[in-house]
Symmetry: C2
Subunit: 258 residues, 2 copies
């Protein structure tokens, strides 16, 4: 029996204008359900968003699901209009700014229209670049890996991403090995999930590693059962690579065929 690892306790999730709601809510649901099972686990979740100057008594601007600039979504998908995504109807309130966030074991970055092109999330990339060395793990979903790649933290690693936005994402990481047929990829301390719903399978796989079955018998099944979720346990079982014709991309300068 291998000795148990000490699982991470301090989680953070980075929100920005135009994030994709399920990218964030799927993994967080897994963590919420984990806390149901480990009631004395002392887990914390910090929801981190951009600071604003405000007299409203709140320090953070709520991060809306709608992007700050509609019409700038990935070219592979239809161009949003003013009626796009219910405008400001989905607003999530951060608990911390970049400066007040506590030390984190795990940082979660979801994707969404607001992440591409990645210069729209320059403040978030600066936070990530600064925070990355002290993280135990970075966990991205969907085009969150484009944010990570543009911030330079995927250099020399393997990664995956949203398959519909594949070309735009992979162009953000010329020093990254991009794996097309993958529900998620683990490389170094970074977990990258494929698009949107894949974040749930990626997070369950992440928790399987953090809470090994031999030390936490039945825990992962209880989490999935309480979510009534039939998870994908095989990261290579990804039908969406073919749906969108995504192909592996080797790092620039590599001898491999891309």
């Amino acid at each position: 029996m291998t000795p148990p690892k000490t699982p991470p306790t301090s989680y953070g999730v980075l929100l920005y204008p135009g994030f994709e709601v399920l990218d964030v809510a799927g993994p967080i649901e897994c963590l919420n359900t984990l806390t149901d099972e480990l009631a004395d686990s002392k887990l914390t979740l910090s929801v981190i968003g951009r600071p604003v100057d405000s007299d409203q008594g709140v320090q953070q601007v709520p991060a809306a699901v709608s992007p700050a600039n509609p019409g700038s979504g990935p070219p592979e998908r239809p161009t949003p209009t003013d009626g796009f995504r219910f405008q400001s109807a989905q607003v999530y309130q951060p608990t911390h700014t970049f400066d007040t966030a506590p030390p984190l074991d795990v940082l979660i970055i979801g994707g969404g229209w607001g992440s591409l092109p990645t210069d729209k999330v320059a403040p978030e990339m600066a936070f990530l670049a600064r925070t990355f060395p002290s993280l135990r793990h970075l966990f991205t979903v969907c085009t969150g890996s484009a944010v990570a790649a543009s911030a330079g933290v995927l250099d020399g690693l393997a990664a995956t991403s949203n398959k519909a936005a594949w070309k735009q994402v992979t162009a953000c990481g010329p020093r990254t090995r991009w794996v097309a047929r993958a529900r998620w990829v683990v490389s170094g301390k970074v977990w990258t999930s494929s698009g949107v719903s894949a974040g749930m399978d990626g997070m369950i796989a992440f928790l399987r590693e953090q809470y090994a079955e031999e030390h936490y018998p039945g825990l992962i099944d209880r989490i999935a059962n309480n979510m009534e979720y039939t998870y994908e346990a095989d990261p290579s079982n990804d039908p969406f690579a073919d749906v969108f014709g995504a192909q592996d991309v080797a790092p620039q300068g590599s001898d491999e065929l891309s």
Copy 2:
């Protein structure tokens, strides 16, 4: 070819303290993705929450994922503690109160610890009872059907719900036929989904009915593909009824075996 129906345009989602995040985010992700595909569809989403007296310049209290009174979850699940569910870390900001909500075609009610026992959501039940007659459809996820049953709007209908909280939920609806082995149930104008992640399958099924393939070819597949989600198309394929030992419950006074 049957004539096309006019799909619903005004959606609302009801939040309350202690809602389950994926219950809401899963169906909303389906609707967000629908709007990507139908950019001129003029869909609206109202996020409806409790009003408060407040000097903070906002009319609504943000609905937190954590329940108002930890320790009162369903008896079938572990008792939450103070460390439960990251406390106030997940806060969602409503756009409307019960009094300012616009006329709705579809009202979505998710489940969560905060919904049981249902006297905790008395204001939401009053809103539902008042709104129900003018809705085209009510759509519940998880223990959201307990809220609907307690509000009296499931009387004489068939329904399903979260399988882990099955006994507690079905006791809320003595005049309802409760179907255990169901990912979702359609009865009258009411769609009820099973627990948590089942809301995605239920909402995709709902959209399949609203946007018939013959009139909107490929739309539903594009939505599922862009979510990178392999949906369950057969409502009777529900492994979680057996996992939790949930059994059908006939309405009181019926001749059926329960």
